[in-house]
């Protein structure tokens, strides 16, 4: 080994030793300052490198991101559709649960649930169409209710569908009983869908808020089905009867599922009604 190479070896060993001591912390504050400066430089270089790398690889990532974005948007749309469907099911379930509660609290009647699938094409009539018919033992004249109250009665039946005359129909008339006033009256529908009471005796006191139930008179409906409440009363001394407007318990604009009372048979009392006899 010549003197030059020996000199180089010694220099390397010395520098190596100093570095080893510095990295091992044996050189104290001088070592820490050196290593921290080294780390800072390393950090700066690394961050700049990553910046450059992002800059040069960005176009590829945009394409990837766009694809991924489209996938996620499609997924969001799908999930939104699922949410809407589930909300509809929740609504239906709530309605059905309310109807089940109602049928359990009224065990004297048997019910058949049906969905409302349409309305009468004529603007003059208030009829709805349900998806149950004679195949489900639905018969003409059966009363139809919801958990809120009376809806109407079956007007016509085919095998798998039936038409219901709502109590709001202008031609509908229901014998009712005013619970608080303890008197009978007749409930009429109208073209606007509003309900009104007529033939209330002048002798009784009817007040706003009085509960209206079916009386069962006439045999068309079972007794004690809720219809609604009195809103206003019109009582004029020169008239034979009082009239009242009624707030129905059922929201007829949002009928979705109804219950048909299948164990009720309407009674035709027409033969018992007195015939008009010609004056002698």
């Amino acid at each position: 080994m010549n003197s030059r190479s020996l000199q180089t070896t010694i220099i390397f060993l010395v520098i190596g030793g100093i570095l080893a001591l510095a990295f091992s912390g044996a050189l104290g504050s001088a070592s820490r300052g050196f290593t921290s400066a080294l780390v800072d430089i390393q950090t700066w270089i690394s961050s700049r490198f990553l910046g450059f790398q992002d800059f040069f690889t960005a176009p590829r990532d945009i394409v990837t991101l766009r694809t991924r974005n489209a996938e996620l948007e499609a997924q969001v749309s799908q999930l939104q559709a699922q949410v809407i469907e589930l909300q509809q099911r929740v609504n239906e379930t709530e309605i059905l649960a309310a109807l089940v509660d109602f049928s359990r609290s009224n065990p004297e009647s048997t019910y058949k649930a049906a969905s409302v699938i349409g309305r009468d094409p004529s603007t003059f009539l208030h009829y709805i169409i349900i998806n149950r018919g004679s195949n489900d033992d639905i018969r003409r004249g059966m009363p139809v209710v919801t958990n809120q109250g009376l809806v109407g009665r079956i007007d016509a039946v085919i095998a798998d569908a039936a038409r219901i005359q709502l109590i709001t129909d202008p031609a509908s008339a229901v014998n009712v009983y005013l619970q608080n006033a303890d008197t009978n009256a007749v409930l009429y529908g109208s073209v606007t869908g509003d309900l009104s009471l007529d033939l209330i005796s002048q002798d009784v006191t009817v007040e706003a808020g009085d509960l209206i139930l079916t009386s069962g008179l006439g045999g068309g409906y079972p007794a004690d089905l809720i219809i609604g409440q009195v809103i206003t009363v019109r009582s004029l001394e020169f008239e034979l009867f009082q009239q009242a407007t009624v707030q129905p318990a059922v929201d007829f604009s949002r009928l979705e599922i109804v219950l048909v009372i299948t164990n009720f048979r309407p009674v035709d009392i027409a033969p018992l009604e007195p015939q008009a006899t010609p004056a002698p």
């Binding site: 309305r119 003059f124 073209v191």
Partner: protein, 164 residues
């Protein structure tokens, strides 16, 4: 043969009327899609099957509705009659004819329905019927007249193609 499109199309029209159109109310009135389709079809010059379509529509609506069948037949046949007469006289302005037929058809149908139902014992008030049912229905029918007319005119070109 293409006239057989009447069966599915008018069935669809009846379904749309009961399930959707009758839910879209203005006051207490709503549009009469079968009337509009029938009027638009009858106003097409080349069409010779408007009476057949009228019979089919009457049977479909009569099956669904509680309205007396004679009212439906007279009402819709009246619309076809108006349309055929007007089509011969004002054939150069078909849209004007459509509006006229819809206006007259809706009014006559409602007057007839009102009169018959009143005769059968339904306690209608004329003012209520006019203000809450007839006029809103008339407005909705007029609004729907243009798209229905355009659609039915295209359909008539398909059913009765022009011979070259």
């Amino acid at each position: 043969m293409r006239n057989l499109i009447a069966f599915p199309l008018l069935g669809l029209v009846a379904l749309l009327q009961t399930s959707i159109i009758s839910q879209v109310q203005l006051l207490s009135g709503y549009a009469d899609l079968p009337l509009l389709v029938l009027a638009a079809w009858s106003l097409q010059g080349r069409v010779d099957s408007s009476w057949h379509w009228a019979v089919l529509i009457c049977l479909l609506v009569g099956f669904i509705s509680s309205l007396p069948l004679p009212v439906i037949f007279i009402g819709y046949f009246g619309v076809v009659l108006f349309a055929r007469v007007l089509q011969r006289r004002v054939w150069q302005a078909p849209l004007l004819a459509m509006f006229s037929v819809v206006f007259l058809g809706t009014l006559s149908f409602h007057v007839l329905s009102f009169a018959v139902l009143r005769f059968l014992g339904t306690p209608f008030v004329f003012g209520d019927v006019l203000g809450l049912i007839t006029l809103p229905s008339l407005l909705l029918n007029m609004l729907l007249a243009i798209p229905v007319f355009a659609t039915i005119r295209d359909l008539s070109y398909w059913v009765y193609p022009v011979e070259e």
